[in-house]
């Protein structure tokens, strides 16, 4: 009986470990829209129109930050380069105004989420 309890406890422990953010990192695929952080948060502008794309690009050209507005939660995830995509502007700029998925490693701390851009593509969801 003790062995069974220990085994079940161990499985629960592993499940919690691998499905939580205790380690602050996990592989995810998020769906949403790419924005520039300041343009979106302060000016409330998304790149979903020609003018919106222009303003967003202007923000990025003066040192702005790429972010993803997650479709499911409407929360903002900050996007950062990865080993395979070091030039974020070159990789993400074509997708402005498109619903995308981004695959990468998500790091969470203090309520802030950061996602490496390992892969990006047009999302059909």
């Amino acid at each position: 009986m003790n062995s069974a309890i220990k085994f079940v406890s161990f499985i629960i422990f592993l499940t919690i470990i691998f499905n939580s953010n205790l380690f602050g990192q996990k592989s995810v695929t998020l769906v949403g829209e790419i924005v520039e952080l300041k343009t979106y948060m302060v000016d409330k502008i998304k790149p979903n129109s020609p003018a919106g794309i222009e303003v967003t690009k202007e923000g990025l050209m003066v040192g702005g930050t790429f972010a993803l507005v997650e479709k499911k939660t409407n929360k903002v995830v900050i996007l950062i380069p990865s080993a395979v995509n070091k030039n974020l502007y070159g990789v993400l700029e074509p997708y402005l105004g498109t619903q995308v998925f981004i695959k990468g490693q998500q790091y969470s701390s203090g309520g802030i989420r950061v996602l490496t851009v390992d892969d990006v593509g047009k999302s059909l969801k």
Binding site: T29, V31, V84, P94, Y95, L96, T98, F101, K103, D119, G121, K122, S123, L124, K125
Partner: protein, 309 residues
């Protein structure tokens, strides 16, 4: 007396013969400066072509061996219809071997003649005979709108595009869609996941659902890194006999160009880009691997020169 008659007859024959020989000469023996027959400069050889976009064909040739002559004056490229009606002429300086012929009509087949030119006042040389190549402009699509064209393997979720429409008439662009999308009847090819491996197969859409469009691949493919790949002619139309093309997850040295014939007889080419991070033609990770492609597409049916290479 008899000897005298014989001598007179002999001299008469000699004089008559000389007279007729003199009159029979084609050259004017009086002219002090006869014009020598002019020589053709050596032709350009090995004409090649590719279509750059729906209005431009690029012609390339091997330069004439007579380029070092002082009377050599470059090249004349004549653009003609298939009925040999002259559309226009372009001149190219010597030392050059390429010309982009613009302002052509999409889907129209043209004859391109390359002529090595001698200077018009050259005392010794005249233009060469033409070398000819036939080609046609075709659409070029490097992206789907602004984004790279990515075809995801069929094991990926519906959120990833596994189907490719070569040419969506409403947008005049290619379009990637889900295999179950509303546009699925327009899909030309899709990316099939080969079970138990990291390999994939680019397949005709009708292999997914029998009522969908049929695409045939040529048995000819090219290991090149660009669609700007000059060739003497497209693959023969009889080579379009395959419904799928397998892409193995192995390192390769270059990208690959496939030739296809679409559902309505629209020919084209697919450049499968090499992934520099792993050296294969496959990008991403299972179960969401993908091919990143560029297209050349002939929107006019049954024009094999779409292959623009």
């Amino acid at each position: 007396m008899k000897t005298q008659k014989l001598l007179i007859s002999f001299f008469t024959i000699i004089i008559t013969t000389l007279y007729f020989i003199g009159c029979g000469s084609e050259k004017d023996p009086v002219s002090p400066d006869p014009t020598p027959e002019k020589i053709k400069v050596k032709s350009a050889t090995n004409p090649l072509a590719y279509s750059l976009n729906n209005t431009t064909v690029v012609i390339k040739w091997t330069k004439s061996l007579d380029e070092n002559l002082s009377d050599f004056d470059g090249y004349l490229v004549r653009i003609l219809t298939t009925a040999n009606t002259l559309v226009r002429e372009r001149t190219v300086n010597k030392n050059l071997d390429t010309l982009a012929v613009t302002d052509l009509t999409a889907g129209t087949i043209y004859n391109f003649e390359v002529i090595a030119k001698a200077q018009s006042n050259s005392p010794r040389y005249i233009n060469s005979d033409p070398v000819t190549i036939q080609w046609s402009p075709a659409w070029r699509f490097d992206t789907e709108g602004t984004i790279p064209i990515k075809i995801y393997e069929s094991s990926s979720s519906t959120g990833f595009a596994s189907g490719l429409i070569f040419y969506n008439p409403s947008t005049q662009q290619p379009k990637t869609v889900s295999l179950l999308s509303a546009d699925s009847s327009l899909i030309d090819v899709y990316l099939f996941t080969i079970s138990g491996s990291s390999n994939v197969e680019l397949r005709s859409s009708h292999l997914y659902r029998s009522n969908r469009k049929i695409t045939r691949f040529s048995t000819v493919s090219r290991d090149v890194n660009s669609l700007n790949d000059p060739l003497p002619s497209p693959p023969d139309t009889t080579t379009y006999s395959q419904f799928q093309f397998r892409v193995d997850s192995v390192a390769v040295t270059s990208s690959k160009v496939l030739y296809f014939k679409g559902n309505n007889g629209n020919y084209g080419r697919i450049l499968i880009e090499r992934n520099p991070s792993n050296g294969t033609l496959i990008w991403g990770t299972s179960p969401e691997q993908y091919l990143q492609v560029r297209l050349s597409y002939q929107s006019v049916p049954y024009n094999k020169f779409s292959k623009i290479r």
